[in-house]
């Protein structure tokens, strides 16, 4: 079955009692044991809950993994994965990564002796040079956020396998609709499902998908022991969102490519970072390993003074954190999502005070271009640059 069909049918045949096409929200924490020593398969909602189980089963299938685990946020999913590691372990991580991941590694995991090195994960020589006997895993974001750098997942996973390292891929931006890292050799896929999978800026959620029996069992143990699980209402809302994933992504991609093309010819814009543009350095790899591109891209203004007025003059596009929702959001990474990354590292990867990240929604493309266009013009006028 095609993935679009599987998405539309999530949970539709799971309720054996009534046949409800939308799986019920089991707002229950405890489950009666038919007899002592017997279980319905459900004992306590932290360990396994019916609504969450349907979501987890769907996520495992969509990502071609063996098991999936729903968590209370993307960060909770990441923390649960990091609990695989112990004092003294070392990780290699994408240089241009989500600020929250960086903060978790540097402010929390570091206190427990788990260390990380940051590198352009598409550079295999650089990866190899950072590998030590204590290295346990490589964590890739591809595309990265916000600079949309592309990593060749199959190449990194093959290298990791040779050295007995786990390959963890953050697949938040592309979703299993467009990219399935486990099929390319990854061991663990992680999602901030708050983004495209949920898709409506209304659910905070994380997903972990694992490949392999031993790893899946270990993750199930940690998921239950740490307890950072997703509630039934949020599990249901997330499945509801996932049913329209294919339709939404189609429009997100169409709008983002149009906007990127338009911005790349705009005189006030210095650069546009979108993997669908032919001159993007990761264009070919992305084309090979993913079946499309996402609704997110970044662009750098020529003049930093235009940023504040652009954000102020937007009328349709919201100025907010997060991404992947039906509404268009513009984010200023240097002060919002990446504020926790030290300035020198931010500048090194290119997250400077002229960079804006656009999470393109599913509104009409003409309205989006018009809104951003008028905001840029007004900003140019304000800083005295005249009409752009």
């Amino acid at each position: 079955m095609k993935i679009e069909s599987r998405l539309a049918q999530i949970g539709s045949r799971e309720d054996p009692v009534t046949g409800a096409v939308s799986f019920p929200v089991y707002q229950a924490t405890a489950f009666r044991h038919p007899k002592l020593g017997q279980s319905t398969g459900f004992d306590y909602a932290r360990t396994k809950s019916p609504t969450r189980a349907v979501l987890e089963e769907a996520a495992a299938q969509l990502e071609s993994g063996d098991r999936a685990f729903a968590c209370s946020s993307g960060m909770a999913a990441l923390q649960t994965i990091f609990a695989l590691f112990k004092q003294g372990d070392h990780l290699i991580v994408s240089l241009d990564l989500y600020g929250g991941t960086y903060r978790l590694l540097e402010r929390i995991m570091s206190r427990f002796g788990v260390t990380a090195s940051y590198v352009d994960t598409n550079d295999l020589d650089a990866l190899e040079s950072l590998r030590t006997p204590a290295t346990r895993a490589v964590l890739i974001e591809t595309p990265t956020n916000p600079l949309m750098m592309i990593t060749d997942i199959a190449a990194v996973a093959a290298w990791a396998k040779v050295h007995g390292l786990l390959t963890i891929v953050d697949n938040t931006l592309l979703t299993p609709l467009l990219q399935r890292p486990i099929e390319l050799g990854a061991d663990i896929v992680i999602h901030s499902a708050t983004k495209y999978l949920g898709g409506h800026n209304d659910v905070l959620a994380g997903l972990i998908v694992t490949k392999g029996q031993a790893l899946s069992d270990e993750m199930a143990f940690l998921h239950n022991s740490i307890g950072a699980v997703l509630g039934p209402q949020d599990s249901w809302l997330l499945m509801r969102g996932m049913k329209t994933l294919a339709l939404r992504m189609e429009r997100h991609e169409f709008n983002s490519v149009k906007l990127a093309e338009w911005l790349s010819t705009h005189p006030a814009v210095e650069a546009v970072y979108h993997p669908a543009l032919p001159d993007h350095p990761g264009h070919d790899i992305q084309k090979r390993q993913a079946s499309g591109s996402t609704g997110i891209f970044s662009f750098r203004m020529k003049d930093a003074r235009t940023v504040e007025p652009i954000l102020r003059h937007l009328q349709l596009i919201a100025f907010a954190e997060s991404l992947g929702g039906v509404e268009s959001l513009l984010t200023y990474p240097a002060v919002q999502t990446h504020a926790d990354i030290p300035e020198e590292i931010r500048r090194k990867v290119g997250v400077d005070d002229r960079l804006l990240r656009f999470s393109v929604g599913i509104e009409h493309i003409d309205d989006l271009i018009e809104d951003l266009g008028q905001a840029i013009e007004a900003a140019m006028a304000e800083i005295g640059g005249g009409r752009a």
Binding site: L36, A45, S72, G227, A228, Q233, L311
Partner: protein, 389 residues
């Protein structure tokens, strides 16, 4: 804190605080119940003046109403809501660092034991389990790297009582962070911060939620600095409670006092009745005369709670009883409108090795009865037929 449409909330009696906690009326519309803000992100109207909430992991209005509610009830400085009791406990333990040591109540909840001995140990957090009813054991357990102390009183499932003020006072002298799992008592019966504890934890899935329908954890910190550190962890780890759950939990908490009063009244009768029953080997309930911690418990708490444990004599007898009861549901968990009967050896404490269980009095005959809101005569008649033969 955040919600201040009633500045007098802190001065009132507990029952009134439960209903008028400061956020019960929505300021925008006057709605009589906190709105469910099912939003993950918030619009910034002005770059220079960021909104109070920018991303729901960092702060959500519905969750925040709950967090200020529990802080008010516990008499603490700041509250935090988590996706489960274990997620609250695991987040609190991450206040420690590699190489730190923590002293823990011996018959602590099985999940806490599992977390310490199989997950946190890998991050080099060391733990020693002691019988906290014996103060000398607590003192003897301290090492140069001891940084914290974790209490559960009454403990689960044998309802041992720790002298909170004494242990917390000693811990303070030695600069230890004191944490207390207050799940069994709730702030209605026991407010550990008033007794010197730094951080209170709840599995709010239990009495606070009270309906076996919400999985949730809560933490309350006593002071600003600790609150700031817990906030950084809650946001950094993302172990937060969802909005729907936050709302349901507040809905449950409004009836906390009436539920606790009714359940406790029945629990006292049930414990007394069990203690007189010839086929019951032993009853554990701090309200019973002869319970070794009764006096301390009465000093530090306003009630005995609604959990009664008893030893049916043997594993065989306990299993037979569990097969014959008709009213309580046989399940994991506790603290709900419906009575719940659990078998710790195979349920809540299955994560504990058999020999450790035995050493802590969690025998094969031990049964834990969480008394709900049914009529006590029905519960006793039901137990009577189940204990027969």
């Amino acid at each position: 804190m955040t919600y201040s449409n009633d500045r007098h909330a802190g001065d009132r009696e507990f029952a009134t605080k439960l209903i008028h906690f400061g956020a019960e009326i929505d300021e925008a519309t006057g709605a009589s119940s906190v709105p469910i803000y099912q939003a993950s992100t918030f619009h910034h109207f002005d770059l220079e003046q960021p909104p109070k909430h920018d991303y729901s992991r960092s702060g959500n209005p519905t969750r925040e109403a709950l967090e200020s509610y529990i802080a008010l009830l516990e008499g603490g400085h700041r509250g935090f809501a988590f996706s489960s009791g274990m997620s609250a406990i695991s987040t609190a333990f991450l206040l420690l660092s590699a190489g730190d040591h923590v002293i823990v109540t011996e018959d602590v909840y099985g999940g806490t034991y599992r977390l310490l001995t199989t997950v946190l140990n890998r991050l080099a957090i060391e733990s020693t389990f002691v019988d906290m009813t014996d103060f000398e054991q607590v003192v003897a357990a301290r090492r140069p790297n001891t940084k914290a102390l974790f209490m559960e009183t009454p403990s689960n499932p044998t309802l041992k009582i720790t002298d909170i003020a004494r242990v917390a006072g000693w811990a303070k002298e030695h600069g230890l962070l004191t944490m207390l799992d207050n799940t069994f008592m709730t702030p209605y019966h026991q407010r550990p911060i008033e007794l010197g504890v730094d951080l209170v934890i709840h599995s709010a899935t239990k009495f606070l939620g009270g309906h076996s329908d919400v999985l949730a954890g809560l933490v309350v910190t006593a002071d600003e600095e600790l609150g700031r550190r817990v906030k950084a962890l809650q946001n950094g780890l993302g172990t937060v409670l969802g909005t729907q759950e936050s709302w349901l939990l507040m809905r449950g908490m409004k009836t906390l006092q009436v539920r606790m009063e009714a359940s406790e009244r029945c629990a006292r009768k049930l414990a007394q009745w069990l203690s007189e029953h010839p086929s019951v080997a032993r009853v554990y309930y701090p309200g019973l005369d002869g319970h070794p911690g009764k006096e301390i418990h009465e000093r530090q708490s306003q009630g005995y709670g609604a959990v009664v444990s008893f030893d049916a004599g043997s594993g065989e007898k306990a299993k037979k009883l569990l097969g014959k009861v008709r009213i309580p549901i046989v399940a994991v968990s506790l603290g709900a409108v419906e009575s719940i009967l659990s078998y710790p050896a195979m349920m809540s404490h299955a994560a504990m090795p058999a020999e450790v269980r035995a050493a802590r009095g969690i025998t094969d005959g031990l049964v834990r009865y969480s008394v709900g809101l049914e009529d006590i005569d029905d519960l006793i008649r039901d137990l009577e037929q189940a204990l027969e033969g």
